[in-house]
């Protein structure tokens, strides 16, 4: 009886194609925090949660590809960027259409930007431009804006 149930469920699953509602409900969500290491040193951590079945492109893809992924921080007198945005090592796939390897992330990824704190009561304002695709669709590049208050 159990086996029959499994079979019925499997067959039903085959006939239920994914609805677009499911396909498109894969918005990447961001969470940004400021970690203080000392009174002068800190790191902006930007964590992306990627829905199952979706991927988000990594930093460092070819400028000759359509992939857009970048971080912008508005200059402010109270802090200074140290180095570039860091990321864990991404997944890699050869994209036949573009004819080049592309790098991307699935599930969850955290980017980091080290900063040196110079003044008091500052605010870090930034924008993350990112691009995400599922196996079925790609959505246009999106901007996520954030601001973090620096408490002294």
């Amino acid at each position: 009886m159990n086996r029959l149930a499994i079979l019925v469920v499997t067959v039903l699953m085959m006939f239920c194609s994914h609805s677009k509602g499911q396909t498109l409900s894969g918005q990447v969500t961001w969470e940004c925090t400021l970690k203080r290491k000392s009174p002068e040193e800190g790191e902006i951590r930007m964590k992306a949660r990627i829905a199952p079945g979706w991927h988000m492109y990594a930093l460092g893809n070819s400028p000759l590809s359509p992939i857009k992924m970048n971080f912008k921080f508005e200059p402010d007198r109270t802090y200074q960027l140290v180095g570039n945005v860091s990321q864990p090592s991404p997944l890699l796939k050869f994209d036949k259409l573009l004819g080049m390897p592309v790098t991307y992330f699935e599930n969850e990824v955290e980017f980091g930007q080290k900063i040196r704190l110079k003044g008091k009561n500052g605010t870090i304002r930034g924008t993350i431009q990112f691009m995400q695709c599922s196996d079925q669709v790609c959505v246009p590049p999106q901007d996520f804006g954030f601001s973090l208050k620096i408490f002294n």
Partner: protein, 257 residues
């Protein structure tokens, strides 16, 4: 003995799945051939694909319209591929993209109350939209469009075709007071060179690529002109009447240049 039975049972599941998939594929192909084989005078299907060369998930949708276009005998099946420009930037550009095509996709998102744009998106007769690679859904939507009855209210005529300059006239007997006539200049076959990466220099091929789209309020008759972006290709003009409020396509016709 029991365990062998169980193993066989487990092995049979993927087989059943494979058979069902194969059956679905054969059925889709059969329906696709049916759509392409003939047409009635009273119905039509306008198939619009929003796509881009820069979109990871678009090639299956491009292949689907290529299948629809190949050896098509259905004169009332109108196919248009609009390349959107939201992935263009300084270092990369889809040669066939235009911001007005992105605007058209945005207009559909408004008409259809969609929360986001995406590619590949297929729109049938301005009324139904779906992921462009969902073959079964696209085919059944075209089939149901072909069952609707319309009176033929739009006709096209080539007034002038000299070199790159084309002048076309239309006549409309539409009774709608709230519609536009849209006219698309369509390149039947196109290829573009990949400009970056290991495939640099390799050609990507496309069908039914819209190179220009013009829109005007519906009149009893009017004319418009196009300048061909290149010569040496086969071109088609597809004209259709679209309701300004709902986006529904009310009439459609085409002419080969």
């Amino acid at each position: 003995m029991k365990s062998i039975k169980e193993i066989l049972y487990v092995l049979s599941l993927p087989l059943i799945i494979a058979l069902i998939m194969a059956f679905k594929g054969i059925n889709d192909d059969k329906n696709l051939q049916k759509i392409k084989s003939s047409n009635s005078d009273k119905s039509f299907a306008v198939v619009e694909l929003f796509t881009s060369e820069g979109c990871w998930s678009c090639p299956p949708a491009d292949e689907l319209i290529a299948k629809l276009e190949k050896d098509n005998l259905n004169k009332k099946l109108y196919i248009m591929a609009f390349h959107v420009d939201y992935w263009d930037h300084q270092g990369w550009k889809d040669h066939f993209s235009k911001s007005s095509f992105t605007e058209r996709q945005k207009q559909y998102a408004t008409w259809m109350n969609l929360s986001t744009l995406y590619t590949p998106q297929m729109v049938i007769n301005g009324k139904q939209e779906m992921v462009g690679s969902e073959t079964g859904k696209v085919i059944s939507s075209i089939q149901s469009a072909m069952l609707e009855q319309h009176t033929e209210t739009l006709a096209l005529k080539v007034l002038k075709a000299e070199g790159k300059n084309i002048q076309i006239a239309y006549v409309s007997s539409s009774s709608s007071k709230n519609s536009d006539i849209l006219v698309a200049l369509v390149q039947k076959h196109a290829s573009s060179q990949v400009s970056a990466g290991e495939n640099a220099g390799k050609a990507l091929s496309h069908v039914q690529v819209v190179r220009e789209l013009k829109s005007m309020g519906t009149k009893a008759q009017d004319s418009f002109s196009f300048k061909l972006p290149e010569t040496g290709h086969a071109w088609e003009i597809i004209a259709f009447e679209q309701d300004k409020k709902s986006g529904e396509i009310l009439a459609a016709t085409s002419i080969n240049l």
